[in-house]
Symmetry: D3
């Protein structure tokens, strides 16, 4: 287990993409990471696009971001719900600014835009939000995995193998 002792956040809200939460969740656990599911505080249980339930361990307002090594931002339409919660957007911003690993996939890019951390950053995302990423200052590429320092981005579930590989590598390096 390469990452025993490390701690990671996975953000959740309603209509999360089930693949983009549960694949990283179990992958990080396989490497010994303590994975903490963080909700917005709007509910005690959220449901994915297909209805798979997930209960957050804590809410964003309760997180001590410095205790963590990485944050994973899934897609689906959850980011559209997350970004109206300042504590969730702030958490992404703080983790980024502190050099922690920030990994966003698919529509997760909306949270990067709202956190204002995309200026001149090489990134990718779900192609439908490309305009929002570029308008937020990002340099957008259509690739399965784009890493720019502590920022890791991918486009869609099919990119999850590359996304998990890069996430684990970055947490090892951190």
């Amino acid at each position: 287990m390469k990452l025993t002792g490390k701690k990671a956040i996975i953000l959740v809200e309603d209509i999360y993409n089930e693949f983009e939460v549960w694949i990283p969740y179990y992958r990080l656990k396989e490497e010994g990471v303590e994975v903490v599911v963080v909700g917005s505080g709007s509910a005690s249980e959220y449901h994915g696009k297909y209805g798979i339930p997930i209960r957050p361990d804590i809410n964003a307002s309760q997180v001590q971001f410095d205790d963590f090594d990485a944050i994973v931002i899934p897609g689906g339409y959850a980011p559209d719900k997350m970004r109206i919660h300042p504590e969730m957007v702030g958490l992404v911003k703080d983790m980024f600014n502190k050099g922690k690993v920030v990994a966003s996939i698919c529509h997760g890019g909306w949270m990067l835009a709202s956190a204002g951390i995309l200026k001149d950053k090489k990134t990718t995302s779900y192609i439908g939000i490309k305009d929002d990423m570029i308008n937020a200052g990002a340099r957008w590429e259509d690739a399965e995995l784009v890493r720019d320092g502590n920022l890791i981005t991918s486009r869609k579930p099919e990119d999850l193998p590359a996304f998990c590989r890069a996430l684990i590598q970055a947490m090892q390096e951190a």
Copy 2:
């Protein structure tokens, strides 16, 4: 009937907000408008957030925009699906540039951002996409109805009375 002889487009795609399509649809019909439901071409039938089906009359690629007086862009997550279809984004752009009435509500603002027509425009939208509107150049206000020339915007279903009133007024003036 104040608008007999006028023609309006309502854009649809999957996960459209049922209120933001059907309220303007029937309201415009009450004033004698010929309402044409325009799809992206991705399906022959779309379903709203609650599953209410709607069949497009034609696809965006078949529209002669000059035949129309107004275009209504509903919210829900349909705009996230519309904006990957260049013909739909182009239709919004052409209608706007030709001075037609462009009326967008809720998440419809994503289509305005992708059409690149928000530079210095006074607008509103669903509060969750405020960052995307501002990043696209808009001057954003939290009001039930914002009109800037031929661009009409509102935030959410509760704003529909003001939205319909302004839409009908603008079509009368056009």
Copy 3:
């Protein structure tokens, strides 16, 4: 706004037809009407045929009918649930007998039958309940809009433009 100061009831129960509640609801609000959603008392939240939720403002037993100018009775199978509540049937009867505007669409006609107010009345309804309307004494026509004094009836959602137009006109005249 033509009807500022006026008050209207919309009756709801489970399996209501979403179009036949929400289109008149927003249309009346556009004209400045104070719209009050009235439930049977059987639940604190009802769901339409497609599941769209609606919370009643008050229950039928709490309504002072003289405070209101009009009552709208939607269809779907909600009327089949309403008519076993004497307070709801009584409310329709009282509003009718007091000359208030009574507007019923689609299966709403069942409530007119149970209120016993159809004797020799010109009406229409969803075609499937035609026998029940005629057996209750009505003179039934297959038309988008039939008005007989303070009683307005239509058949189905497609008739909503004519239904709303007549409803607003009748409330203006009242």
Copy 4:
């Protein structure tokens, strides 16, 4: 098996009450009856209130009613869909007039009203359609089982034991 050689129709349409179709269906089979499921012709498969599918053996327009000994009319909202099909209403009328056993439960009474066979008949039904039954000429009682000649009626699923017992008895006597 008390009824070997006998044939019975069960009418179906969408939103049928699952209990009021399948309980008589299997009960008649237990007594050796050949049970034929008859649809309106509007679909090749119907779904009950909970979605249980049923495929009709034939459509009403294909039925030789004299080949049959009994007809069962379930409730749910299926009768509201059946009664707009003249062949289904006609089948009920013909079976009744020919002295066959006509067994209706719950909302099935709407079909008796539309078939015009309730004049002075002792019956019962789901309490919500009591007004429609009385307006159609019936003498209505609130009892688990009412038999008037070849007409058997009950109110709701809880009455099915009495309903089945009476149905089998009537078919034996016929």
Copy 5:
């Protein structure tokens, strides 16, 4: 009514097969049996494969098995949920060992296997669990109804007429 005064248990848990609970339920009631719905205790309401709700009268841990004449074990995936509750498995075992009528249909056979009562018993079941029945010692046949002493088994809903006939006969003989 052939079985007035007799008492029968129907076991339920989530994802029960609606036919295999409700057909025997109403059939036994038609013969005057007092039918008691027994749950595992895991919930106050269970839902069938299609979602039809059923509320248990009591839980398995509260049952005095000697008060009963028969036990019906439906299929669907409910038996997969029942068999992790020792009180439910124990109830089947006690009823069998005391010579009461034990009637199992479809996947109900899993409960017979877990109750360890299949050694050298002639039985049938849903064909997919045949290996589990044989591995538990049963002599398995592909027939609509197999009776071996006080053990009655069938395969699927289509066998319910034979299953109910045999269940009622066995309760009469008991």
Copy 6:
């Protein structure tokens, strides 16, 4: 990537457990494995317990088992559907007898029982099918991961980190 060039089968049928298919699917892809989804042939698309669709690449009858290094058998109720297809059961048997890696989780154990490969084997499974495993000859333990030669078994989704770790290790050793 530790397993480039290796090939693995994942068996699917309706009501598969989404975690127990998709987590191993993406995990194996991360290590460079060519993952082939194999269906029973009963449909061109299957749906998990929550409805997530999966399209098989080929059907069991088309598989050349010697081309593969491992087979993964997920749980959910899919195994109850798989085991009535001799080609699927045969595939598990052949892979096991040829010393390939056979990895089963949760209710997957039913396929091991039907393949007759459990005699004296150390295994685990979902606790509800423990009797079926023991009756099929297995020595059953309640542990997150049990490996006996080329047979890897786990109990439930929470065991997936250990399950994936052991699966990858066994494929490396093979």
